[in-house]
Amino acid sequence: MNEWLYVLLFMVVGAIIPIGAIAAGFIFGPKKPNPVKRETYECGIEPVGEAWVQFKAQYYIFALVFLVFDVEAVFLFPWAVKLGALGIYAVVEGIIFVSILVVGLIYAWRKGMLEWV
């Protein structure tokens, strides 16, 4: 049997439990909505404007840097697993690999993109 089937079971059970709990709340809780209740919460005062707000470009940069390092990790995990059996050259390869990416990180940092301005 494929071991991932068990993981799928975990997923199913992991979904059932919260759904059950929320359903319980739905069944036992009162349901008396009114316009004021359904307003969005803004510290008790009337909501102002749309929920949309101007976002900082930095959000994109963080996700971007994360994406890059994420993909990097994808390459490095097999490397880390096999490292014990490989020689020092593999370590050097890894060091080169990471250093190249760190250059990008430094670039983004020098550009002031990693700061929350």
Binding site: Y60, L64, F77, P78, V81, K82, M113
Partner: protein
């Protein structure tokens, strides 16, 4: 029909359905979330192919990072939350025709190709895919150059994206 086949059909159907929703959803955030569903389906397909590592990587990279990037980009390029107007361009029929033709062409090719009846060999016991992947990625006899070049590619992407999107000039 075996259990595996049933699972595959269900997963593939759901994946393609959410794929269709990706390209037809009006709301871009919804499209991005449907993309997540599609990619998750693809991850399950990987597990059916015994490529557990690929499945996890799929979730980590696509759902964990690329989907987030998409959502951030949508938030950065949208003035109002609700989408209005058509989401398909005026040439959508041509695009649809091309897509159908592509599928038809690929399908026709698959039908005539001789390798389809191939059966998958059992994965040998004790064969560690990840370790083998690591060995091949670092071996000068195999893929060490793509491995390092991938790093350069990512660097270029990072520098390029940072420069493009947020050049102060």
């Amino acid at each position: 029909m075996t259990t595996e086949q049933i699972i595959f059909l269900i997963v593939a159907g759901a994946t393609l359905a959410s794929g269709l929703l990706v390209v037809t959803s009006r709301n871009l955030i919804h499209a991005a979330l449907w993309l997540v569903a599609t990619l998750f389906g693809v991850a399950i397909v990987y597990t059916l192919l015994n490529a557990g590592f690929m499945a996890v990587v799929q979730v980590v990279v696509y759902i964990g990072a690329i989907a987030i990037l998409f959502i951030f980009a949508v938030m950065l390029t949208r003035k109002d939350m609700r989408d209005s107007g058509a989401q398909l361009n005026s040439n959508w029929w041509a695009g649809a025709l091309m897509a159908v033709l592509t599928f038809g062409g690929l399908f026709a090719m698959l039908r005539t190709w001789g390798g389809m009846s191939k059966t998958a060999a059992e994965i040998p016991a004790g064969f560690d895919q990840i370790a083998e992947l690591g060995a091949q990625l670092t071996s000068p006899e195999a893929y060490v150059l793509p491995f390092e070049v991938a790093s350069v590619l990512l660097l270029a992407a990072m520098v390029g994206a940072v420069y493009l999107a947020f050049n102060k000039k």
